[in-house]
Symmetry: C2
Subunit: 153 residues, 2 copies
DNA sequence: TTCCCTGCAAAGGATTTGCATACAA
DNA sequence: TTGTATGCAAATCCTTTGCAGGGAA
């Protein structure tokens, strides 16, 4: 079971299949495997990463276009979240399983640390209200040098 | 004089030329005009926007590759800052004249509002320390619907 | 049978690079 | 003169799209 979660892969997948069906869409091994890779992996993965892992782990072929289409669908359904990181060529994706959080990235080694701060969330809401905005989402990235990389310098 | 500033364009440009020379680089009308466009403009501009404005306003030709090269140089020198916005195809740039601030973007019309919150800055520093990071920079984007677009719905 | 989904290859769009020429000092 | 900067075109890289074939229900 994925760390910190109370849902198993089977339960999760069953829920997903139900959602897909309820939208009048079809299930497919490609969709299932992309989701499984993201479920099993604790890192943030790019479309290429996912394609490679699906091929390696599940020993099937999958076109990169299919991966992008599946990622777009999953993001649309709010099942995954894509994040853009300065200095990274491509977007990376993570499951929306755990509650909302932001990211801190090491500019040396690319390590990604997740964090959450209730105060920041509150302030963002205030800033939006002050400016007459109806807040929909936000994206906060901190960039710095992690402990390991500081020591190696 | 640019809003909220105590430096004129001439002073600013003089300083820039000095910096360029001190680095052993050459001055050029292209560099001067790109900087002038950013100095005069209150919006955030893409490389294409800048190329177009330089051509229109100053009636010279400028290759898009040159614009990108100049923007990279200016960003390297910390004179400008490029920001990536979800849903925008290309990076946009702004002068680093005013103090640090973050951005809130309307997902309907693309309007960009700048804001600053000392509390957020403080918290970011704390989060970094807690995780052993040496903080270098951050990027915080709020996405929502601005007052105008809410009314038009 | 009827859509939906996939793989492949081609297309797109932003940005970068190679190279010959033009320019600044 | 000498190295730097530019413009053009070609090349990259990530992502999207068109299309014909394969698959689910």
């Amino acid at each position: 079971m994925k760390k910190g979660l109370t849902i198993t892969y089977d339960e999760y997948m069953l829920k997903f299949k139900g959602l897909i069906k309820s939208l009048g869409l079809n299930n497919s091994v490609q969709r299932e495997y992309v989701l499984k890779i993201l479920f099993d992996c604790d890192n943030h993965l790019s479309a290429e990463d996912i394609a490679k892992k699906v091929k390696d782990v599940h020993n099937i072929n999958i076109g990169i276009a299919t991966v992008y289409r599946i990622l777009a669908l999953l993001e649309e359904l709010n099942i995954i979240k894509g994040i853009s990181i300065d200095g990274f060529e491509s977007k990376v994706y993570e499951l929306n399983l755990t509650s909302h959080h932001d990211h801190m990235v090491c500019v040396e080694c690319g390590k990604i640390v997740e964090f959450y701060d209730a105060e920041v969330e509150k302030i963002q809401e205030l800033v939006a209200i002050e400016n007459g905005f109806k807040l929909q989402s936000h994206n906060m990235m901190l960039y710095g040098i992690c402990k390991d990389c500081q020591e190696h310098e």
